[in-house]
């Protein structure tokens, strides 16, 4: 009897220890993500502070001429921020409707066989390297657009944005579709029983139930569009003149960063430090966007 009494205690103690250990290890894993952010901010901030010793923060944030590599030098970041925003907005016009439409089709309308074939195809689309999209935009989309808008420039925001939209569309489609499939069947069946059409079930029952995850897929896609580097570096141009016309050549924040990093600029110079300042600004912008999105999502989340 003594043995029986001791046995389970030891077992339970071991279980507890194991649980604590597991929790600790997983906590450590999670801490890595914090370390990454700290690392990024530290690296960017260090050089940005050096940059701001030579350029006023007012000039950086509020003036509209960006010519760090030309004489006379101007450090107004607005033109490339506008460039980035143009890509983000225009690409969302492609990726969100097409992605969501695809997700709804796959989740609510498509027969299982079609789903099995199409889902992998979408994943391939997402995996095509961005440089391939970049040249696709330059060599295929731009000539195509030239037929419609003859005044379009060789490098322009629209082609790049379309390519970015196509690239991020599978993200929206895949994640939204997963979100919609997770909605319990019972809800759908209830609606069908009441005589609702597939469309009504999709738009009035499933979508609202999955809306928070669907919107987070939108945010992910827009974030990716803002951070996209190679497509815009190849196809959007490197012209940092402020413009709102998508047919013009633009430069995005990321395109600027990669061009300078690969160029012959002397490291440690003020022009070079702009890379870090722009990087920090980019980081803060996406942070703000994500906080805003989270706020919206938590307001509309539905639990089942």
């Amino acid at each position: 009897m003594n043995k029986a009494k001791r046995g389970p205690d030891k077992h339970i103690m071991r279980m507890h220890f194991q649980e604590k250990l597991v929790k600790l290890i997983l906590q450590a894993f999670s801490a890595v993500s914090i370390l990454v952010t700290i690392g990024i901010v530290a690296t960017l901030l260090w050089e940005t502070l050096g940059f701001l010793r030579e350029v006023s923060i007012f000039e950086f944030l509020f003036t509209t001429v960006w010519t760090p590599t030309l004489e006379p030098r101007h450090f107004g970041v607005i033109p490339i921020v506008v460039g980035t925003m143009m890509i983000a907005v225009l690409s969302s016009i492609v990726s969100i409707p097409v992605g969501l439409g695809s997700a709804i089709y796959l989740s609510e309308f498509a027969p299982a066989k079609v789903r099995k074939v199409v889902k992998p195809i979408l994943e391939v689309l997402a995996g095509i390297p961005s440089i391939v999209y970049g040249f696709f935009a330059l060599n295929f989309i731009t000539p195509f657009l030239k037929g419609i808008f003859p005044q379009i420039e060789v490098f322009n925001a629209l082609s790049a944005a379309i390519a970015v939209g196509i690239m991020t569309m599978p993200m929206v489609a895949s994640l939204s579709e997963d979100a919609m499939r997770a909605v319990p069947k019972a809800l759908r069946e209830g609606a069908y029983a009441l005589g609702a059409t597939k469309l009504e079930v999709a738009l009035n029952v499933v979508l609202p139930a999955a809306i928070s995850n669907v919107i987070s897929s939108f945010v992910l896609a827009v974030s990716r569009a803002i951070g996209e580097t190679m497509i815009v570096a190849i196809a959007a141009g490197s012209s940092s003149i402020l413009t709102f016309n998508p047919l013009n050549s633009i430069q995005t924040m990321t395109g600027y960063m990669v061009n300078i990093s690969m160029g012959d600029i002397q490291h440690g110079s003020v022009e070079y430090k702009t890379v870090f300042a722009v990087g920090l600004l980019l980081f803060l912008m996406t942070l703000l966007m994500n906080i805003l999105a989270r706020h919206i999502v938590s307001k509309y989340r539905e639990e089942y």
Binding site: E19, T37, I40, L125, G127, P129, G279
Partner: protein
Amino acid sequence: MKGTHADMENNIYTDANKSSNLKSRKLMSKIFEGFFFLAIAFGIIMLIVLLANIFKTGVGWLSLDFITNLPSRFPKRAGIYSALVGSIWVIGLTFLFSFPLGVGTAIYLEEYSDKKKWFNNLLQINIANLAGVPSIVYGILGLAVFVRLFGFERSILSGALTLALLILPVIIVSSQEALKAVPNELRHGSYALGVSKWLTITGVVLPYAMPGILTGTILAMSRAMGEAAPLIIIGAAGYIAFIPRSIMDSFTVLPIQIFNWTSRPQAEFQNVASAGIIVLIVLLLSANALAIFLRNKYEK
């Protein structure tokens, strides 16, 4: 009584209206189904156009020599061997770092952390934000931390660690979604049987969530395979005419080699680049196929 009677009268679903109303609603459904199908068709058509373009310009240059040759300044002699091997090494190592770290973090966030605590909320926001940080910023981080601070130099290790950090948020977020979708009844059933938390997770929750986790991981690894910018910053070079012997060696990867070829003046290098893209896509498809195989195995 009166209320219900009036309701029934006002109800549009009266027998008289039902059939025509149903018809138009069904028609709407069909029309929208058409639109949604167009959306998918658009994606598939774009993919076909993209691939056809590449295939046309590259397939003539694809050969066994191309795969086993080292790069050269002569288009006809240029081969992709060192880039191919480099990519395999980097992706393999990236997976080994990012998968456990990512899934582990997701498990912690979903299964162990108290959601109401501000700290865990911060963790969540942080990860969501990291998902949107441009790949080039990870390159800058990798250069400062792995190459310089840790002294790994421009090695496969530095490259893999940098890419692992890049795709970590994506793996975490999609794994979390997959874990969230696991019905609580399964967990409670397991606890009721006296199974410990960790064993419940590994024996019940994870297998259920594995298809979703693998989907997210596939998307993430595909992204890593195609990344050029962060590795350029790390210093993954332009001309590597040798095969890596260890994870501390210099390296190049397929996207960088391809990009390098496209910037050369000789026109034939565009074809060589296309051939390289075909190889990269084949590699991508194999990785996808492997993951789909695994996903189907788990999807009972």
